[in-house]
């Protein structure tokens, strides 16, 4: 049993799962809200002819077809986006019911789910951040200038084009890049663009919608960021599966992780750190 290490503290585990549920609900209820007006614009206002992205249905010869349009390029997405096949035949609906909350069309419901989980997402994130800032954990995944030259070697290592990993801390340089982007770029931006859509927030801070180019731009950026989160989550889940799903899941549920090959780079690895001349000492509390 000597190769089992305690990898994730209680707070990290609890907030991780709350975050997972919150992100899922936010994404799905967000698509419900989008369905109420499935068009995106740049600027302050939504001039119908000037949408850069649209999902719409149209009747053609007694048949319902739907299209997704991006910058004037039109794609037939019948049955996938814009229409959904139901017992009553294809019905107009931008995103299908299996990916929205609730499944039936209800803008008021979607908004209530979205705003409740938005609060949960933010408060949960703050709790995680404050706690793990205090334990010193946060500083271990912040990408620092000295990590930048190691990004390419790390990618090459992942692609089996390099034999040794340039990792010298708890997180490898690419992990640091991913987590730093999500924590310090994606999350603040998604919060700001979300708040920029609030009329009251626009009164409080006229500059907030303005920095994104107007309220409709903020809405578009918010939509795009939602998919950036989805993409991150997809990558995250793929990594979890390919690097030992049971072991990874266990460590995020119980905290305990079974070390197999990378003892030297693991959590309890004071030896390589000492060899580095204590360069990373500052990262430890």
């Amino acid at each position: 049993m000597n190769d089992i290490v305690y990898r994730h503290n209680r707070v990290t585990r609890a907030t991780h799962w709350v975050n997972a549920v919150a992100l899922m609900v936010l994404f799905m209820s967000g698509l419900m809200i989008f369905n109420a007006y499935p068009h995106l614009h740049w600027g302050s206002k939504a001039e119908p002819a000037e949408a850069f992205f649209s999902i719409y249905a149209s009747g053609e010869d007694g048949e319902v077809r739907s299209y997704t349009e991006l910058y004037g390029r039109r794609y037939d997405t019948t049955g996938v986006l814009g229409t959904q096949n139901t017992d009553m035949g294809p019905l107009p609906r931008a995103f299908p019911s299996w990916i929205t909350i609730p499944g039936f069309y209800c803008l008021a419901c979607g908004r209530r789910w979205h705003f409740f989980f938005a609060w949960l997402f933010v408060l949960n994130g703050l709790f995680y951040f404050i706690y793990n800032r205090a334990t010193g954990h946060v500083s271990q995944f912040i990408l620092r200038p000295r990590d930048v030259p190691k990004l390419l070697p790390m990618a090459l290592y992942y692609l089996h084009l390099r034999k040794t990993s340039p990792q010298d801390g708890e997180y490898n340089p690419l992990q640091k890049l991913a987590y730093t982007s999500v924590f310090f770029v994606l999350t603040p931006l998604v919060m700001m663009t979300g708040l920029a859509m609030s009329p009251q927030m626009g009164v409080a801070f006229n500059w907030l919608p303005a920095i994104f180019g107007g309220r409709q731009s903020a809405r578009s950026v918010h939509f795009i960021l939602a998919f950036a989160f989805a993409l991150f989550t997809l990558g995250h889940v793929m990594m979890v599966i390919t690097t030992g799903m049971i072991n990874n899941m266990r460590s995020m549920v119980s905290g305990w992780y079974r070390e197999k090959f990378h003892v030297a780079t693991a959590v309890e690895a004071p030896v390589p750190r000492a060899e580095n001349g204590g360069a990373d000492d500052k990262e430890r509390p």
């Binding site: 614009h41 001039e47 209530r112 009329p199 927030m201 899941m249 549920v253 305990w256």
Partner: protein
């Protein structure tokens, strides 16, 4: 490592629970949320976000800050007339054609001086003109120039009782079932300098599809709060006493009373 003993059993339980949850998720995730949606307790829990948002956003706003005002060149070419169709009864249409000789704005409820005003009398009150952005709950925005009487001036004229907390707008438009539209805001938003009773849009008398002869503009909130076709304004202490008790037509249908988000 003394922990490893009990750890395994807990791990087993947790892993089992996780698999169970995953299975549940795969079997009917969309149905699960639909079912939760129907639960009153879940509904009440989700509703708690509304007051949190209202308090938080208003704390940030203060009372004097104004919504962004735009320039003439920013005015939308198309402004969607959303909501109910206009009240097409003969009485309304004939009055509209004649320039509203019969229409009166009734102001009453918990006020010292209930008042009835003609459109001409309203136009005699010092007006405010603003080019602002209208944000629909659906997601779109449109910009227009509005001219009208600040509600604060009306409030000063009728003198509401100290116990009056809300201003209710009773309208002339109906839905398919014949139900009249109504809306309400609280005294804080009612007194906001940009809250006006608009009778002009983009330099012309308010068009029928946009709520002629009089509509509300509340720049701190979403479009559905901005009642059109207003005929009566009522000051009340409690929203429970008006039609279905939620403070507005859309509120009675599940939307938030506080539409500042």
């Amino acid at each position: 490592m003394t922990k490893s003993g009990p750890e395994i059993t807990r791990r087993k339980i947790l892993t089992g629970a996780l698999y169970g949850a995953a299975l549940l998720g795969l079997s009917g995730c969309d149905k699960l949320f639909d079912r939760l949606q129907q639960s009153r307790r879940i509904g009440a829990l989700l509703d708690s976000a509304e007051s949190a948002s209202r308090r938080f956003l208003r704390l940030l706003t203060g009372r004097r800050r104004l919504a962004q005002e735009f320039e003439e060149k920013d005015i939308s070419r198309y402004f969607k007339p959303n909501g109910n169709p206009p009240p097409l009864e003969n009485e309304y249409m004939a009055d509209a054609k004649a320039g509203w000789p019969n229409w009166r704005l009734e102001i009453g409820g918990m006020v010292e001086r209930p008042t009835r005003l003609t459109l001409e009398e309203l136009k005699g009150v010092p007006a405010r003109t603003q080019i602002t952005r209208h944000d629909c709950v659906e997601g779109w925005s449109a910009i227009a120039k509005w001219k009208g009487v600040p509600l604060a001036r009306i409030i000063a004229r009728v003198i509401p009782a100290p116990a009056a907390r809300y201003v209710v707008f009773h309208c002339m438009d109906r839905d398919d079932n014949g139900e009249l539209y109504y809306e309400s805001i609280d005294m804080r938003d009612a007194r906001h300098p940009q809250t006006i009773l608009a009778y002009e849009m983009n330099g012309v008398p308010l068009p029928v599809e946009h709520g002629a002869p009089l509509r509300l503009r509340v720049e701190t909130q979403l479009g559905y709060k901005m009642a059109k076709y207003i005929r009566r304004i009522e000051f009340v202490a409690d929203l429970k006493t008006i039609p279905r008790g939620k403070g507005g037509y859309w509120e009675d249908r599940g939307y938030e009373w506080y539409a500042g988000i």
